[in-house]
Amino acid sequence: MSEKPVKGSRRVFMTGNEVCAWAALAAEADIMYGYPITPQTDIMQYWTRLAPKYGRKFLQTEDEISAGFTTVGGVIAGKRAFSATTGPGNTLFQEPMSMAEMMRIPTVVIIPQRGGPSTATVIYSQQEVTMTTFGGNGEGFRIVYSTAGHQDLYDYTIKAFNTAWKYRFPTFVLGDGYQAKMREPLTIYDPAERGIEMVKTEPLVGLPGTPGVDRPVQYLRNTYNTEEELYDVVMSIAKDYEKAAPEIMEWQDFDTDGEMDVLILAHGVVSRAAQGALPLLKDAGIHAGHFRPITLRPMPEEQMRQAAAKAKRILVVESAYGQFLKLVKEALYGMDKPIDTLLRPGAGVTAEEIVHRIQEGR
């Protein structure tokens, strides 16, 4: 057993991509599969530099479809396997990730979103929300953590492995190009020292004993012959997903006590702008609150509704043209609340812009 990559805990100043590589090491990930694409490539580069020192592995594949399927394969072999991709690469990942949903393969994929559609920019966006939550030809049986900064990237990359392996759903850490490339302080730690136990991994095929005699038969299938067969399988996955959802969902709220003039809904790095806007709005005599879903899938709908119920209006802010808005509308369906928007596809949002948007709406 090689020594632990992170001992105790310490304060560091790193890029987000570096953070993800360290988090995967600390989470005892065995292997990363990947294909380079900016702004994700540094995760691979840090991983390939660090992994051999700790007896971990790396495989560069010929494209993202292959990176996705090899990650699925690594997990089936019982390895804590992960990958990272973004933008057009994320598009290609949807095929293997659909397979992971169908076969309940606990893959972990880190997505530092870049601009879209297509090649667009290598900089930043929140335009991969729809694809990461509901991509593929399925029902979105997956878990998506939307991180807001480096501490989140560390915490939730570690957590993603455990959520994936505990509940057996493909799990995504949805970051963005800003978080990938910027440097800021955070605390890295040995998960064990925080009482975080890594969920044990196991091979999904080639188990000991005779199938049907010594152990149940493992049906790892993504192909079905009849409508009824498929219906039963999908309904059973849906039931498992809905049962697990309340244990998985996470959120944060800020200043949502009492009557609010406006509730700002934002996720990921944009939540930081929303948090920054609150004191500025308070100075301007506006009582604003902020609700941030950390899991976009499953969405903490009930908690969002409770916060929304206390506000006169809702403001949805995102670096996309209505992708998060769509999830919000679904969560708040039936509530009689006016929704305003600040939609900036592929562009950053600052606290000042949120304040301005709220003031001009009054």
């Binding site: 100043f13 900016t38 290598v122 490339k181 790095v269 930081r272 950053g348 600052t350 000042e352």
Partner: protein, 219 residues
Amino acid sequence: MAIRIVLAGEGGQGVQIIANMLAESAYAEGKEAVYIPNFGVEQRGGVSIAYVQIDDKSIGSPKFPKADIVVALSNRAVDRTRQYVDERTTFIYDTSLISAAEIAEEAMGIQAIEADPRSQRTTELTDSTKKKDQVKLPENAANTIGIPANDIAKNELHPRVFNIIILGTLLKATAVVPLERIKEAIEDKLGAKFEKNPALRELNYKALDKGMSLVERLV
């Protein structure tokens, strides 16, 4: 106190390195710091922009609408950073690389019609004599300071310490971290080279001093 800095130059001028050093030193000093590079699809060339925020409190969004200090080190960098300037901003530019547009006689005719600063630049069509490109500097800044860092680097020190002069200027202007911390950051980056050639350390320190002597504390 929060300080927001935008640094922009041509790829290769070393803008990202000094932005990183500044943020790193502030972090080492126990402050909150966020540094984010702006990057395009090109492998090299193009305008390189760095955003640095330093604060006592935790920092929100990595980018910001207006900066306390904008440093522009090329004509294109002036254009790209104009949006971050407002009436509280100190705008620092390199006079040896950028010359502010004046109303040149040969350009009088078009100036009245076209206010676009691009129209005031020399072009092959209007100017036969090769002159330094001219660019219109932002007019709304609180202070606009021209420093001849590139000339000083070339003539008095070494072209390679150009960015360290700029770092010295920033350090003096913001007083956001002590000189010692910056020296540690430089040591961190270049320590191995200094071992082989101690004169390089002196050269970098001189560049820092020189940069610091070019401005007063501004923020």
